[in-house]
Amino acid sequence: MSTVFQTQQLAALNASNGWLTAINEAGKAAFAEAQWPSRKTEAWKYCSLKALADHAFDAAATASTTAEQLAEITQIAGLDAYQLVLVNGQLQAELSSAMALSQVSLFSGADAEQQTLIADRLQQARLQPGHHLFNDLNDAALADGVLVQIGKNSRLDKPLQLVSISTGDNHVVNSRVIVVLETGAELTLIEQFASLANDSSFTNNQTEVLVGDNARFNHYRLNLMESDARFIGTTLVDLQRDANYDSFHLGLGSVLTRNDLIVNHNVGGSHAEIAGVYVPKDSQLVDFHTDIEHRVAHCTSNEVFRGIINDQAKAVFNGRIHIHKDAQKTLAELSNKNLLLTNKAEINTKPELEIYADDVKCAHGATVAQLDNKARFYLQSRGIGEQEAQVMLSFGFINELLDGLKVEAIGDWLRPVLAHRFGRDQVFSAEQTGDL
């Protein structure tokens, strides 16, 4: 029994040929068969897909935009990075830096060796836990994608900033990114998703990362789309021996923003450090599903997510830690803290532990709370109004995570964006306080 969305998407698929045919066919078959998620589907229990199901999408993008318009939403002030811009899934060479272009290949231009590598990653991804129908759709529609490959012991001297903008008003973009870091390689990747106001397109993104032995991957995934945008994204991370994954995830919120993050500790010695912030307002929905798979011994992970839910917005956090049978000596921690600002806002959180090894240290915690009354009173006793105090404290709650960001420019840039979201403009600019 398929929905209108499914029927439409299947009809829109282009015939495939060439080396991606196998994956296209596998995705198509699975997507055609897939049950549309309901409240009874555990992984989608709190994530309503009405914004997709009740919406008729056009096949292709139409709207056009000017370079200035684009520049405005792609820039992160103060960030020194190599920029790569995709508009509605299409790479825009003229908006991208030459260095960035030289670092990436498109699937469509892949050589034989790269094709093997890509095909292998794509097959791997189909076997991942939590694989869902939108991943199938992505496979079914896959015609092109971006491959970032960093060679043995190499590093890019600046972050790579990959901006995906949706400008069409009503279409579906399936986008795919594969990152491969070879032994000892190092990369900072900033994935930035943006959309134009009133754009009600659906972006279905999938990013797969292989972090090789002793390689380091710093990852920023910033979801800055406007309120009408629909977004479902999956990040798959495979960690090899002594690999290091350090990441920050931001979900600003939209009518539908769903993010899945799956981290596989495949060989001993790897470490994952994951931080995230979500701040939906109005009637937005943000859903983060994270899954840390400790498959082998001697790996560690630490995950911290914080959310502030305003107005009638709804947030979902599902943080799973899965310790497999042989993953002795695992250290894994997860913390999720939430603030509800109104009595129409809603949070559903589930930190899950699934443990099959005994010599491990795991802990998780989740809280839902209101702002600390003592702190609020302290501010009020210094003459700060209640509303203002609330804003300051809410902002402080997530600012702690921004302070920890390694690429400071991102924190500096996000601070006013987020402060503004809570109705407060920053008193001091980053330049003013840079020396503090």
Partner: protein
């Protein structure tokens, strides 16, 4: 006897922890008692038969049939983390009663001595002069209640404590008013089944402002083969009243799995308090995972304004356990508590936890859950804390700890938290730990042998829960853990 060493364990690196030995289940004997047992199978006639056997009034028969019809349309649930062979509902017998009970004994002197002996063997003497001081007991054997002690003394205080089958006749207005109000007939698959075929269970009513003068308890015993036990307990604590109630459960060792699908409803009216404790020691199956009870239970309580519900459970038995004693905190300032120790060994599976539904203002709940997994068992905590849009100032604190003994078992935590009020506070913490070699060595270096060391550590782990049990049962619970774990650590 039965010091069976698991050959697989010898290959494991950490011999200290991995020797698997299992002592005999002490309550595993079978009583040779002649029974009236209904042939296997379930249809409307069986439901009518059970109702007729109890001489029930028309309204009760209809109530059951309604449940039966609802059940027919329901699908048996598939639980994510439980693996077991689903019961064949047509192969079960839905009614079994000792023959000697056919006409119903008028007093303890008329009860079949073999039955009394069974309870003596289990350490629950039913003769009042021998009984635990201050504890009134209702003994349920397969489908019927065989004896209720201290009835007169309770009657003086106005407390009603009797088999539910009897309450249907003697207090129909109370049963009619409350039965199915907390767990509706079509609540879930097993609750619907229970509503259709329940045979007996305990009924308690504590009048307004009364503090029940003694602990009440029910001992459940499944004896007959191929029967399911479907008991129904209904406890009503009227305004300002208090009761402490304890249930205990055992079953003989049998190779085939047996089904136990109970429903417990608690109602605490304004300012009332109900403390409900369970020591569950149904037969868990043997060390190969053969046999044992399927324990699929729906327990739920409603707490009105200023009322308090406290669930305490020590779960060591059953092959498969599925139960979530829950609290609906309906009135303002209502309090819900859940204290649980769930131990699994060998091939046992437990999926247990609680639901705290905060509806009223300033409602408070506390959840302390301690899971111990040993052998090849799987032990999951599954909980829900929901703060509804009116739950202003509500609070929950949850602490959920797991102890793993050996690397063949699993410990899982699935806490669902749903909050819809900005002033509600929910705090959830979970940890896992193991009995480490370093800890055992420290103990042994001080002259304490391994078995004793493990028992000390495990009891220490469960301390916060045991202190919630009535005194006599806390000791019993500690011993039960020791027996259940015996030999799981070399």
């Amino acid at each position: 006897m039965n010091d069976v060493v698991n050959p697989a364990a010898a290959e494991l690196p950490n011999q200290e922890i991995h020797q698997q030995i299992r002592k005999e289940y002490a309550a595993g004997f079978i009583s040779e008692i002649e029974s009236d047992t209904l042939p296997p199978g379930l249809n409307e006639d069986v439901v009518r038969f059970i109702s007729a056997k109890k001489g029930e009034p028309e309204w009760m028969t209809e109530w059951r049939l309604k449940a039966y019809r609802a059940w027919l349309e329901m699908v048996e649930p598939d639980w994510a983390h439980l693996r077991y062979e689903k019961p064949d509902f047509q192969a079960l017998s839905y009614y079994s009663a000792p023959k000697s009970m056919a006409d119903g004994p008028k007093s303890l002197d008329e009860v079949d001595p073999k039955l009394l002996e069974t309870y003596d063997k289990l350490g629950i003497p039913l003769h009042e002069q021998l009984a635990l001081a201050g504890v009134a007991v209702d003994a349920v054997f397969d489908s019927v209640s065989v004896a209720t002690t201290f009835r007169d003394k309770l009657a003086e205080a106005g407390v009603i404590f009797m088999p539910i089958s009897e309450a249907v006749h003697k207090h129909p207005e109370l049963v009619k008013k409350y039965l199915g109000t907390v767990v509706p007939q079509r609540d879930n698959f097993y609750a619907a089944l229970n509503s259709a075929v329940f045979s007996d269970g305990s009924f308690v009513y504590i009048p307004k402002g009364t503090r029940c003068p003694m602990e009440l308890s029910t001992y459940f015993r499944i004896n007959e083969a191929k029967t399911g036990q479907f008991e129904r307990t209904l406890i009503i604590c009227d305004e300002g009243a208090y009761v402490s109630y304890l249930e205990g459960c055992t079953a003989p060792m049998r190779d085939e799995n047996q089904l136990h699908a109970a429903v417990v409803e608690l109602i605490a009216l304004d300012d009332a308090e109900i403390k409900y404790s369970t020591v569950q020691n149904w037969y868990p199956g043997d060390e190969e995972g053969k046999g044992g009870i399927y324990n699929f239970v729906t327990k739920r309580a409603v707490a009105h304004t200023n009322a308090k519900i406290s669930w305490t459970q020590v779960e060591t038995g059953s092959a498969v356990t599925w139960k979530y004693p829950s609290c609906i905190l309906k009135g303002d300032n209502a309090v819900g508590e859940f204290y649980s120790v769930a131990l699994t060994n060998n091939y046992q599976q437990a999926d247990t936890g609680t639901k705290m539904i905060h509806l009223g203002k300033n409602t408070r709940s506390t959840i302390i859950s301690k899971g111990i997994s040993a052998g090849k068992s799987q032990n999951a905590y599954r909980g829900l804390v929901r703060m509804n849009p009116n739950a202003e100032g509500a609070r929950n604190y949850t602490q959920c700890d797991s102890l793993l003994i050996g690397d063949q078992c699993g410990a899982h935590t699935f806490p669902y938290i749903e909050s819809r009020h900005p002033s509600a506070v929910v705090e959830h913490e979970a940890t896992t730990s193991t009995v480490s070699d370093d800890q055992l060595f420290l103990c042994r270096q001080r002259g304490i042998d391994t078995e004793k060391a493990v028992s000390m550590i495990v009891n220490g782990f469960c301390k916060e829960v045991f202190k919630e049990l009535p005194m006599e049962f806390a000791v019993e619970a500690g011993k039960l853990l020791e027996i259940s774990l015996e030999g799981s650590v070399g």
